[in-house]
């Protein structure tokens, strides 16, 4: 009791004592050695009712006898002050928690005549404590209390389950399986600045698995301003991390894919704002993606038709050969394919691939050019080859004439002269033939009956065949559909083949040869076939038959027949092939796939 209070007048001190006794927010009772309540304050009576004439155990606990471990009894014995937790019942019979303070009251003789019991209700606090405990233990995150040594003073069930029963160890040992403090320790930061901090950490659980944590630390003040502990609460975000990692990977994969795609990729939202513009697109349109992404420039890069398609919200489209302009206004031929993008039913934009056709077109051009040059070279070589034979004849003629004149042989001179005449004639024929071959004629494609053309050719050669002793037969293909062809050209081809076949028969030792002209159709391919049982050809000749001016007919041929035939066949999109066995005969076959035949009325594909 301090001096200022003692110095007050006695009546003032008494007044203060009474006021305190009555109005202090505690329950106060004075009990004598018989445990009877002598006096009590207002609070006491409010809680326990009027105790007049009752024993304390009746009042506090509704008992009939003294409590087994009565604190007051001990204080009567030794005069010591005691504090204890008690559980009692209030006057409504509800259990109540109290902190009880027991102090001795001495009489004039210095004996403890009575004790003063001051109690206050902590029922509320107790239940709060319980609630907090449940919260601490059961909250679905890791909670621990860490002291300034970074030792875990208390940890909740989830920490124990996940990281092991390690109270008293350093937090870095428990959470991260480390032997040293972490450089970015959130608890130390809170100890330093006294503030709540949020950070992300990677822990290692008791099974050695990585755990991604979001950590919140807060100062935990137990007394006064100084705080001695930090409470750390963390949430496991490993799954979210995994998901985000996967998303990141997926995103990266798509980015690499789009960036390295050969074709330009441009995607826009439903308002035409560009949101994808890959590297190929940058190169194609000669601009940076940063200059176009996020801007409503879709119509500058995507064909008008596709922009309309997005607006209408229907499906996808392919434009095999269209034109777009780059940012410098240069026109680019592209192959375009685009798809409208949906989120469920709703159109959210469109994506288009643009393949730059310029290299392809250039290549195509170069190919045509080189084929043309090769054809020119080949023609020159073939021409030279044809002339060689005639030149030999002319050289020979001159030599024989000279030889005859030298020897005075009229007969020999005449033979030489004949040779000269004959070869001059040959070269004349050849030049005529070559001119007509290179000049060609105006094609006239119309649907013709393949049977009819073949039959015409058979009729044309019937007499000649009879004279040569060759049997000429014709096999039609009943009901064959008409095919768009140049009638005259087809006639020329078949006539050439039949004429060759009859020559082959004549060259054969076999006196009973036949030639068969057959028309057929297999799998939409029109076939003309000329088969002979004549002399046949061996390998070297077979390889040469389609070359200009190649002839085995000596003086009789110009070597142009099969070459003209081949040219016509190719102009009709077909192919010519030969199968031959020396001594047994040959089969020449012309095959025309219907889908490659020329369109009636259109110019034939010219193979110049």
């Amino acid at each position: 009791m301090n001096a200022a209070f003692q110095s007050l007048p006695a009546e003032v001190r008494n007044w203060i004592g009474r006021q305190l006794f009555e109005h202090v927010p505690n329950n106060i009772a004075v009990i004598d050695r018989d445990f009877s309540v002598l006096i009590s304050n207002e609070n006491f009576r409010e809680v326990f009712g009027d105790p007049q004439g009752k024993r304390c155990y009746e009042v506090y606990k509704g008992r009939k006898s003294v409590c087994e471990q009565c604190m007051a009894a001990l204080t009567f014995e030794d005069g010591k002050v005691r504090v204890n937790d008690e559980v009692g019942t209030d006057r409504n019979g509800r259990p109540a928690h109290y902190v009880v303070h027991i102090a001795p009251v001495y009489d004039e003789l210095g004996r403890v005549s009575s004790v003063i019991e001051m109690s206050y209700d902590v029922t509320e606090t107790k239940s709060l404590q319980k609630e907090y405990n449940i919260l601490f233990e059961r909250v679905p995150c890791f909670v621990s209390v860490i002291n300034r040594d970074l030792r875990i003073v208390r940890a909740n069930g989830l920490v124990r389950d996940t990281f092991g029963e390690k109270s008293g160890e350093h937090c870095y040992e428990v959470y991260k399986n480390r032997s040293q403090r972490c450089s970015d320790c959130p608890a130390l930061k809170t100890f330093a600045d006294g503030k709540s901090n949020r950070s992300e950490q990677v822990g290692v659980d008791r099974n050695g698995c990585k755990t991604h944590l979001v950590v919140i630390t807060a100062p935990l003040s137990r007394s006064g301003n100084e705080f001695s502990h930090v409470i750390e609460m963390s949430t496991d975000v490993t799954d979210i991390h995994k998901l985000s990692d996967e998303l990141q990977k997926e995103h990266e994969f798509l980015r690499v894919l789009t960036d390295n795609a050969m074709d330009a990729l441009v995607a826009v939202n439903e308002k035409g704002v560009v949101n994808v513009f890959n590297r190929a697109a940058e190169a194609l349109f000669k601009t940076e993606s940063s200059a176009v992404i996020g801007r409503a420039m879709g119509d500058q890069f995507l064909p008008r038709e596709f922009i309309d398609t997005i607006a209408k919200g229907c499906g996808s489209m392919v434009l095999p050969d269209t034109v777009v302009a780059d940012t410098q206004g240069e026109e680019i031929a592209v192959r375009f394919s685009g798809s409208v993008l949906y989120d469920g039913e709703r159109v959210i934009g469109g994506a288009g691939f643009l393949q730059d056709l310029r290299p392809l077109k250039k290549l195509e051009q170069e190919k045509i050019e080189s084929e043309r040059l090769a054809a020119v070279g080949q023609t020159v070589a073939q021409l030279a080859h044809g002339i060689k034979n005639i030149l030999t004849g002319l050289q020979g003629g001159m030599y024989v004439v000279k030889s005859g004149m030298r020897a005075g042989s009229e007969d020999r001179t005449a033979k030489g002269w004949e040779m000269l005449e004959r070869n001059v004639g040959r070269i004349t024929d050849m030049v005529k033939g070559f001119l007509s071959f290179s000049k060609g004629h105006t094609p006239k494609v119309e649907p013709i009956d393949p049977n009819a053309v073949a039959e015409d050719v058979q009729k044309l050669y019937t007499d000649a065949a009879q004279q040569k002793g060759v049997r000429l037969r014709f096999e039609a293909h009943a009901g064959i559909r008409k095919a768009p062809m140049d009638r005259e050209d087809m006639h020329t081809c078949l006539a050439n083949l039949v004429s060759n076949a009859m020559d082959a028969c004549q060259a054969s030792e076999n006196s009973e040869c036949s030639v068969t002209l057959r028309v057929a159709e297999v799998d939409d391919v029109v076939i003309f076939e000329v088969r002979d049982t004549g002399c046949g050809m061996d390998y070297e000749i077979k390889n040469k038959v389609f070359t200009t001016f190649f002839t085995t007919k000596g003086l009789g041929g110009t070597g142009l027949g099969l070459m003209v035939t081949r040219k016509i066949v190719q102009q009709h999109g077909g192919k010519i092939s030969v199968d031959s066995t020396p001594g047994e005969g040959s089969v020449f076959r012309l095959e025309f796939p219907r889908d490659r035949l020329p369109v009636p009325g259109e110019d034939k594909r010219d193979l110049k």
Partner: protein, 134 residues
């Protein structure tokens, strides 16, 4: 006393060529025989055992290549010298033909000469002389 003339056989389907070469050879002291196709040529070679055969390559029915293979595969006549005369170009066509490797694995010797048409008499006779001098 007159030395026995060397026999040379010309196989060519073009009568102009055979007449030309025959005249040139006979004017220069050889005996020249002609055949218009390979089969005829082969029997003539077997009968006459010539010193040299001039062979056209492209002939109907059977080519000069085929005849060459028969000559070089026949022990009786394989030593007969052969020169090809052809409208084929030596570099462009002839050397690309894989004619010396037979299906049974044997490889035939090279022909003794090759003369490309058009034939000039002097060049032809010089080649014949060179081959026969071996």
């Amino acid at each position: 006393m007159e030395r026995k003339k060397k026999v040379i056989i010309i196989v060519d389907d073009e009568p102009d060529v055979t007449l030309f070469l025959q005249t040139a050879l006979e004017d220069n002291g050889y005996t020249a025989l002609t055949a218009a196709n390979a089969a005829e040529g082969l029997s003539l070679i077997r009968r006459e055992r010539p010193a040299l055969v001039c062979l056209d390559i492209l002939m109907p029915e059977e080519s000069g290549i085929s005849l060459f293979q028969k000559i070089k595969s026949d022990p009786e006549i394989r030593d007969v010298a052969v020169i090809f005369d052809s409208g084929l170009s030596l570099a462009r066509d002839f050397e690309r033909l894989d004619y010396r490797h037979l299906p049974d694995g044997t490889t035939l010797p090279e022909p003794d000469g090759f003369i490309e048409k058009p034939i000039e008499a002097e060049r032809f006779l010089a080649l014949v002389e060179k081959v026969l001098a071996r």
